[in-house]
Symmetry: C2
């Protein structure tokens, strides 16, 4: 299959939003996407972009994305975080995910970071296998903790 | 016990580095800290700081830190990540951690983010209990994935 990997432009954000929503459905959280196309279009571009996005394109259609931003590890200094690596369902198993991950790793090497990190659902075995085959390590003893806005406000009243 | 919470300054970074190292030992990874005092001093300050640090101080000594930076959620937009919340062993159980977390949550509300997130080791039950008592949710089905520099280079050769 012919596809190309390129940097995202603002006009891609509608398709990016669709792919993000497709992933949320797959991850069993269909209502989790609060972000809008307008927010993505504003936040990822301009003088201080909050993320950097690569896209995979075939026949002028976006079939995958990899969205990254910098983080700071107090053990490793500046690192790259891969927030989303998405390939649309019908295009999986064709090397698109690997090509996107390679672009992200090349970006990380260019930025001279000591590490790239991301998160995976522990039941998503195909993803875990792909990541481990790529040389990544899944740290099964680290869990993600989140405090949402309602909880933040409640905590401040204590 | 009397202590105060304030913003970190560059001169604090040596003590911050010590506390980070103390946590790495507690987390059974004593050799994990590659970052230097000089890197922390450079990276956290200046025109484009890579992190923001709060410290807890008692008797002119740093007894705790909370280190945060922005992340970007494709579901929630801009969020705050709490990379480290550390209270030195001898000062635990005195409300220092809660005071630091409150400062971080106030910072998040000020920045109008929809969420604050962090990570915890699944065997660190006192920390998990503290976070859950504070209204945070521990997502036990999300694992952390990491690819280090050696793995990144190897993956590019495939």
């Amino acid at each position: 299959m012919d596809f190309l990997i390129r940097e995202a432009v603002q006009a891609d954000m509608e398709s990016v939003h669709q792919l993000v929503t497709e992933l949320a459905v797959f991850e069993k959280m269909p209502n989790a996407v609060k972000v809008t196309v307008e927010e993505l279009t504003r936040d990822g571009f301009g003088e201080r972009p909050l993320f950097h996005c690569f896209v995979a394109e075939a026949d002028s259609t976006l079939i995958g994305i990899a969205l990254v931003y910098p983080r700071y590890s107090t053990w490793n200094g500046p690192v790259i975080h891969l927030e989303d690596l998405i390939v649309t369902q019908s295009m999986r198993g064709k090397g698109v995910g690997k090509a996107l991950l390679k672009r992200v790793v090349a970006y990380g090497l260019e930025k001279k970071v000591r590490r790239i990190g991301w998160e995976v659902l522990d039941w998503n075995e195909p993803a875990i296998q792909f990541y481990e085959n790529s040389g990544a390590i899944v740290l099964r003893d680290w869990d993600v903790v989140q405090m949402d806005r309602a909880a933040m406000k409640k905590f401040m009243e204590e």
